[in-house]
Amino acid sequence: MHTLEQLYDQTLDQVFRYVFLRVRNRELAEDIVSEAYLKAAEHFNDFVPRAHASRRSWLFAIVRNCMADAFRTKGMQNVELPDDLPGMTATVIEHDVDTNIRLTEVMHTLAKLPERQREILLLRYQAELKNKEIAQLLAIDERTVSATLSKALTNLRYELRNVPAYV
């Protein structure tokens, strides 16, 4: 069982990078993340633990709703990734140039993936949700999550086949 503070400490980084990589704008990401946690605080005790349901999937459902609201109110769509990824590289571990370069490459490649594959990949590896939690969140079968994730990784690997680090 989490307290609100524990939940916050354990998930903030995951939530932030998940939102940031979806909206690709730091200010907007901060707005969405703030909104999500305030809603979580408001409804924290409405969560009824059930077998195999986790606090994290509950929180991510709130996050996704907040993100959808933001997309609606601001009329945002999934935009093409800019070349220099402003606001992103500066936040990456500074001394790791290789990571920065690879991040850009991987993010460009991610943008080419179908929306569902991209989302599941980010939920799995950026938000570090389990397949079961993703299934709960997206209201799909866990096997579908697993299959989509596998397909996404295959596609990602194919798209990155010419990048030296992945040859």
């Binding site: 524990q6 990078r17 979580a40 605080a41 633990p49 936040t91 990571t99 991987v106 990602l156």
Partner: protein, 438 residues
């Protein structure tokens, strides 16, 4: 790059390429969030207050549940205690447990059921492999008050022996130590490893043993300073594995349908070559003789070392009861290192669920790859422990790979404790008859 390497690399890469919120944002949002929660009506913040008509007992349980909330700082200690409670059974009273364990071991699907009884220091452990790539397999262990250890397998009458100190301080080069004969069917099971572990734990720690199959085409294992070394039947060095890589040992054992384990004879040495060198294949000192004996030549220094480490091993009182109990625990957790190295693994999630009216804490650990690998060829990346908060015992354990595939799942099916044992449970003759009948 291979697919599984790519997947792992991508996973690690995302973790490394960490995009973080600023510290200022982090602190500000935390304060706003806590203020938001504090502004909620009391009944919202503390839902148990809604239970205005609840009995005092109910409220007490609520308070207890709050006190049982795990924090990352104490979860390791709590988990260790729960493991001790589950498997480190006290010597007092009658204990009976049954567990099921299934998973993929080195590519083999396997499901095994283990039943365990203990009373007054006597243990019986029966393991049945119900599914696998090979034929069904059953093994039984009996340890009667440390005076006798019996092992058996399908179709075989039990083999019983009294654990003895393998050699005493008077041992000199040339002494024949002891011969232990154990046979096991090992086509696809992991129990060959279990038998071998028992022997090494008890009598052959840092000593030298030979394993060969009855047809004489077998192989040799040396167990030396925590290292197994494989020598083929021509005396050629095959490989060297560390204690942490028992899967290789197991794989080699499973190449044989059955095998014998013997302590080798030690004869006077004519070389000062270190045995370690021999293990590395730099200067073999093994001599293969025809027939059933393998002769290993060691130096006096090495013999002293063997004698001392073995003596120390006995001083440490590694009794058969303890060892068999440990085997039972190990059957539950195939990744031994998880228990032994909790500090190396990161607690990533704690949640509480309800199972059959009991509150159950589920602790999820991200495994350090260096420690999270034991039997499986696929690296385990996550382990989950479910602890019944009322009995403070482990209910189930699951281990997964990076793609969320279950590598192993073990559940405790039955737990029974009584002051005294039901009559006849530990009747040795009845047990033998039952095993033989199987």
């Amino acid at each position: 790059m291979y697919p599984h390497m790519f997947n792992r690399d991508i996973h690690n890469f995302f973790r490394k390429a960490d995009v973080r919120p600023s510290n200022e944002f982090r602190a500000t949002l935390r304060n706003r969030m806590l203020a938001e929660q504090a502004s909620q009506p009391a009944a919202q913040r503390f839902p148990w207050l809604r239970l205005a008509s609840a009995s005092l007992a109910t409220l007490a349980i609520g308070a207890l549940a709050v006190s049982l909330v795990f924090g990352p700082q104490n979860s390791n200690a709590a988990l260790a205690e729960a493991i001790r409670n589950t498997f480190g059974i006290s010597e007092e009273g009658y204990h009976h447990q049954k567990m099921i364990n299934y998973g993929n071991y080195d590519g083999h699907e396997m499901e095994e059921t283990t039943e365990y009884w203990q009373y007054n220091g006597t243990i019986i452990m029966d393991t049945t492999v119900a599914k696998g790539d090979g034929v069904p397999f059953t093994s039984q262990y009996l340890s009667a008050n440390d005076d006798m250890v019996c092992t058996s397998r399908l179709d075989d009458a039990p083999t019983c022996a009294t654990p003895q100190l393998p050699f005493d301080d008077e041992l000199v080069n040339g002494d024949t130590l002891e011969i232990i004969e154990i046979t096991t069917q090992a086509a696809t099971d992991t129990h060959g490893d279990m038998y071998l572990t028992w022997i090494t734990d008890h009598q052959l720690k840092d000593s030298i043993i030979r394993i060969s199959d009855p047809d004489g085409a077998g192989f040799i294992v040396s167990y030396w300073h925590g290292t197994y070394s494989w020598i083929d039947d021509q005396g050629r060095y095959v490989n060297r594995v560390t204690l942490r890589q028992d899967s290789m040992l197991q794989s080699a054992i499973t190449q044989s349908s059955s095998f014998l384990v013997q302590l080798v004879e030690i004869e006077p040495t004519d070389t000062s070559t270190k045995l370690d060198s021999a293990i590395l294949g730099e200067s073999p000192v093994y001599r293969i003789e025809t027939g059933d004996w393998t002769v290993v030549t060691v130096s006096d220094d090495q013999l002293d070392n063997i004698r001392e480490t073995t003596r120390q091993r006995y001083v440490d009182n590694m009794t058969s009861v303890e060892t068999i109990r440990r085997q039972y625990e190990n059957s539950f957790f195939s990744v031994f290192s998880i228990q032994e190295n909790l500090d190396h693994h990161k607690l990533v999630d704690t949640e509480q669920i309800e199972v059959n009216g009991h509150a159950v804490d589920v602790l999820t650990y991200a495994l350090d790859s260096e420690y999270g690998f034991y039997i499986q060829t696929t690296p385990a990346t996550e382990a989950q422990f479910a602890i019944d908060t009322e009995t403070n015992t482990i209910l189930w354990y699951t281990m997964k790979d990076a793609e969320d595939n279950v590598l192993q799942h073990a559940e405790l099916l039955l737990q029974e404790e009584r002051p005294t044992a039901p009559e006849g449970i530990f009747d040795l003759e009845a047990w033998k008859a039952r095993v033989t009948a199987n």
